[in-house]
Structures are given as C-alpha cells and as structure tokens.
C-alpha cells in the first residue's frame, strides 16, 4: 500500500505529485505488481483534495501501462518500472556522489549544482537521451 503526501508549496500540480509518488514507490519496490492503490475516496479523505485529481493521476498511470482499473474492484499495479536494477542504482549513485564531491571542491554551491544538473537533464531530454 502507498500513502500519498503533498508538498503544497512545490508548484508541481497535485496530480503529477501523485503520479510521481506511485512511480517512486514502484522504483523502490514499496509497490509491486498486484498491489492495490488506495481508492479515490480514501485519498481525498486523508488529503482533502478533489477526487477528480486522484482519478486523473490514476488515468495517467493507466495510460503508461503501470496500473489497471478493474471495474468495481479498484486500481491495481500491473508492472514495476523497467529500468535500472538496484545494483545499477547503487553504482550510479556512487558516481553521482563522486561528481558532487568534485563539484564542491571546484567551489560550486548547492544551488549551482542543482542548476547545472537541471540544465544537463533538460539538454539530454531535448536530444532524446533521457
């Protein structure tokens, strides 16, 4: 099971936050194929958000093939997120940590790091790498 929480000051729309949290849970293995997502009613009763927002998030996850709605039963996880395995995660994290140390030594602060990472990520997306 997953419990959603909202960062109300983040500027990220609520439905996207829900989508990201499900994906994150799939990556980390806290949600696995066959698991049920909370019903719209359960989510709105804890977060006081519009139920259509929850349905929109679930539709988006369904469109991406990650979950499926079973009429009268609820929404269930269909598959985990294919991608890097846990071992690869660890390896990539190590090299990122090394990069951060390197950048720190070169005099970049937290904000510089974030800006640089965002720019590289955006460029990669443009080139179709990420």
């Amino acid at each position: 099971m997953i419990e959603f929480n909202l960062d109300r000051g983040s500027g990220v729309s609520t439905y996207l936050q829900l989508v990201h949290q499900v994906k994150q849970a799939l990556r980390l293995g806290t949600l696995r194929p066959g698991d049920q997502l909370p019903t719209a009613r359960e989510v709105v009763e804890s977060l006081a958000i519009n139920p259509n927002t929850v349905l929109k998030a679930y539709r988006e996850l369904e469109r991406e093939g990650l979950v499926e709605g079973r009429p009268g039963m609820g929404t269930f996880v269909r598959q985990g997120i294919a991608g890097a395995t846990l071992a690869e995660h660890t390896r990539l994290r190590r090299s990122l940590e090394e990069w951060v140390r390197d950048a720190r030594a070169a005099g970049l602060d937290q904000e510089d790091l974030r800006a640089l990472f965002t720019v590289v990520l955006a460029d990669a997306a443009k080139e179709g790498v990420a």
């Binding site: 009613r41 009763e45 006081a48 519009n50």
Partner: protein
C-alpha cells in the same frame, strides 16, 4: 452531458442597484466549483438565485435535480440538541438519509446542544443536514469562514469524500483562494456583479502565462489580462502562447495569481466562447 447548474443572462436588481448583471455560465455535473470575488461581487446573490431563494430580475438559472444550500451563518437552532436538529431536518424534507452515523463518526455527540458545539462541529452539523437531503447540487456560502485550520481541513475532507462517493456537484464561495487550490476543479470569478471567469481550472491555468521582462518587450500575439510595472520591469498575466520576444520569462500562473490578475482588471474576461479580452 447536462450541466448541473446553468444561468442564462441572469440579472438581479435590489431596488436601483444591480447585484448581478448579464451572468451566463454553466457548471458541468460532478465538478467542485469555486465561486470567488471581493465582497459585494454578487456571490451570495448568485447562490440565492441558484437555489431559488430569490427570483431573478432578468434571465434564468436552472439546477438539474435537487439543490441544498448552507448559508454563511450556519443556520442551526442554538437551543436544539444535535439529535433534535436531525429530527427537524427529517420532518422538513421529503428526501432524507439518516445522518446520525455520519455525526457519530465525526465524534459529535447527538445529545449535545448546538450552542455547546465548537465552530468546526457546527459547520459539520450544518453540512450533514444539507447532505442528508441527498442533493444533486450542494451550494455552500463561505463554508470555511471563521474556522480554524484543522476544522477547515476536516470540513473540506468531508465535502471531498462526499464528491468521491457519488454524483454530486458543489458550488462553494470563499474569498481565501488558497483554501480552494487543491479542492476545486472549476472556477467562477465574479466582480462588481459581473461574471469575469468561468471554466475548468486546469484549462485556465494552462491557457495563461505570467510574463516578466523589461519595459518595451513585445507581447504581440498574446492577450493581456493585466500588467504591473516596477521600475523598468513589467509583469503581465496573459492568455495564449508564449510571445516570441526572448526577453520575456514565462511561467504558468498559480490559481491565486490568475484570480488576482482578473480581479485587478475588471474589464478583462475569460469565458467560454469569448475571444476578445480587454487590454
């Protein structure tokens, strides 16, 4: 799909003053619509006309099915117990669901006198009475006014759970826009008795941009809702695609920015089927 609430050329005049003029809008079924605007904008008048508490001077307003209305002052009899309030509701209404379970679930004692309840509990009792009529449209005038943050959250959770549970449309007014950000999916802005905005909130936010740039940058191709200037910097709320001039920084507005942008420019409007926007 048939709209839950539809107003056509609605006008309401009190003696010589028009409280509402030429108001045409429709709210689709299943939506939670926020009705915002400054004091005296005509919010309460629109609600009263919608639920039949006053007769329009001009035009018409129609609700699909039954409407329930909770006025701002939470109309409960102070000397009644909660149980007596429920019995009263049962006698006064033809459609009535037993609501005692709901109140028990909220921890509100049925034997307690209304006057002895907290503001949040009174709001929950008023809301419960309205929901017990099983309305198709629930109209709430400032449901969160005078409530502490926890009670506000609880009242909103109750309303949202009800919307999730069955086909219910909600129209609620507030002048605290941040209370509505996560809960409403339809926006109606009234200003000075006129309708300025009516539409799906996501579509509205996607269709507008906040531009920041130097004085003299060209915003050609966009429709300017409102602009403000500090020194040589200009900030604008616009409709349409980002302008070509690269000196602009563009981002999506928040709900509060969108509402404030329109309220500050009463001549601007974002209504379905309307393309012209005042500059």
């Amino acid at each position: 799909m048939r709209p839950a609430l539809e107003a056509t050329g609605l006008g309401v005049r009190y003696r010589r003053t028009w409280a509402l003029r030429d108001c045409s809008l429709s709210v689709p079924a299943g939506r939670v619509a926020a009705l915002v605007g400054p004091n005296g904008a005509g919010k309460t008048t629109l609600m009263h006309a919608a639920v039949g508490l006053l007769r329009p001077t001009l035009g018409s307003v129609r609700v699909a099915g039954e409407a329930a209305f909770v006025a701002q002052d939470k109309p409960l009899y102070e000397s009644f117990t909660v149980a007596e309030m429920l019995a009263f509701g049962r006698r006064m209404n033809t459609r009535w669901d037993d609501a005692a379970d709901r109140l028990a679930g909220l921890g509100i004692p049925l034997k307690q006198k209304v006057s002895g309840l907290s503001g949040g509990q009174q709001a929950q009792v008023a809301l419960t009475l309205a929901l017990a009529c099983r309305p198709d449209l629930l109209v709430l005038d400032e449901p969160l006014a005078n409530l502490d943050p926890v009670a506000r959250h609880d009242v909103m959770r109750s309303i949202m759970a009800e919307v999730a549970g069955r086909e219910l449309t909600v129209l609620l007014s507030s002048h605290v826009v941040s209370d509505l950000e996560e809960t409403c999916d339809w926006l109606v802005v009234l200003n000075g008795g006129r309708l300025q905005v009516s539409g799906d909130i996501e579509d509205l936010l996607d269709g507008h941009l906040v531009l920041t740039g130097p004085e003299g940058a060209s915003a050609a191709g966009t429709q300017v809702v409102g602009a403000s200037r500090v020194g040589r910097q200009v900030s604008m709320l616009v409709r349409g695609a980002p302008p070509l001039d690269p000196r602009w920084q563009a981002r999506r507005p928040g709900l509060e920015e969108l509402v404030m942008g329109y309220l500050r420019s009463p001549e601007s409007a974002a209504l379905p089927g309307l393309t012209g926007v005042g500059a």
